[in-house]
Symmetry: C2
Subunit: 138 residues, 2 copies
């Protein structure tokens, strides 16, 4: 089970974007600087999030990114899965190397744990972020 | 948050060892083969688990490994932390790259999630494994 650095960066970026008032667009450079994320990696992640429909991008001098849904409709699980793949993919019969890692005498425990974590990630939406506290200036 | 491949291998190995009746010793080769873990990596992990006091090793032709505590006294968290380091190390003020990953508007969520997962790993001991089902021959 992994909540990857990439997923954590994606979540930080989307929180930052979703703090923007009046659907204001933000540039890659702005988000990367404010959230201390390497710019090239940020560019790659924002592109993936756009392809998955969580963000919209606009080109040009006034261009940038904004979120594509209401805050309440974007969960941490949505963001994580967009950049990291399906979270709850444990299988008791799968033959992939990943599947085999969890098989055996402790499979039921790992399956339950993934379920609990997946549920919590799914219930945690951007609507629960305290924007006024963390982004008072925006 | 990560439950690493190394930790999953360590847990598999210790479950296998703890299934041995009458404190029978098991060799690296036996565990690696039965649990489909690369032998050299298995050797490294067993050495670390021994240094951390979870296993005892005996040299020689009849040598091998066995667990060093009762099943009920070894939790998944003990095993994971022995090979992967402290699990619950989120800090809202830390300056390490790792700490910074979780800081910001979602820190409280990550902290709670780590707490829940850490608790579950801590409560899951070897005493809860169904040995008769998974290791009927041992």
């Amino acid at each position: 089970m992994q909540i990857s650095r990439k997923a954590l960066y994606a979540i930080k970026a989307i929180i930052y974007l979703s703090a923007a008032k009046n659907k204001k667009l933000c540039t890659i450079t702005e988000i990367a600087e404010k959230e201390s994320i390497p710019r090239e990696y940020m560019a790659k992640i924002l592109k993936e999030l756009t392809q998955k429909g969580l963000l919209v991008s606009y080109r040009g001098v006034q261009g940038g990114y904004r979120i594509n849904k209401a805050r309440e409709e974007i969960s941490f699980l949505n963001i994580l899965e967009a950049v990291q793949g399906p979270f709850n993919k444990l299988s008791s019969t799968g033959t992939s190397e990943e599947a085999k890692l969890y098989q055996g005498a402790s499979f039921d425990f790992w399956k339950d744990l993934h379920q609990v974590v997946g549920d919590k990630l799914g219930k945690m939406t951007l609507g629960k972020i305290d924007y006024a506290k963390f982004y008072p200036e925006k």
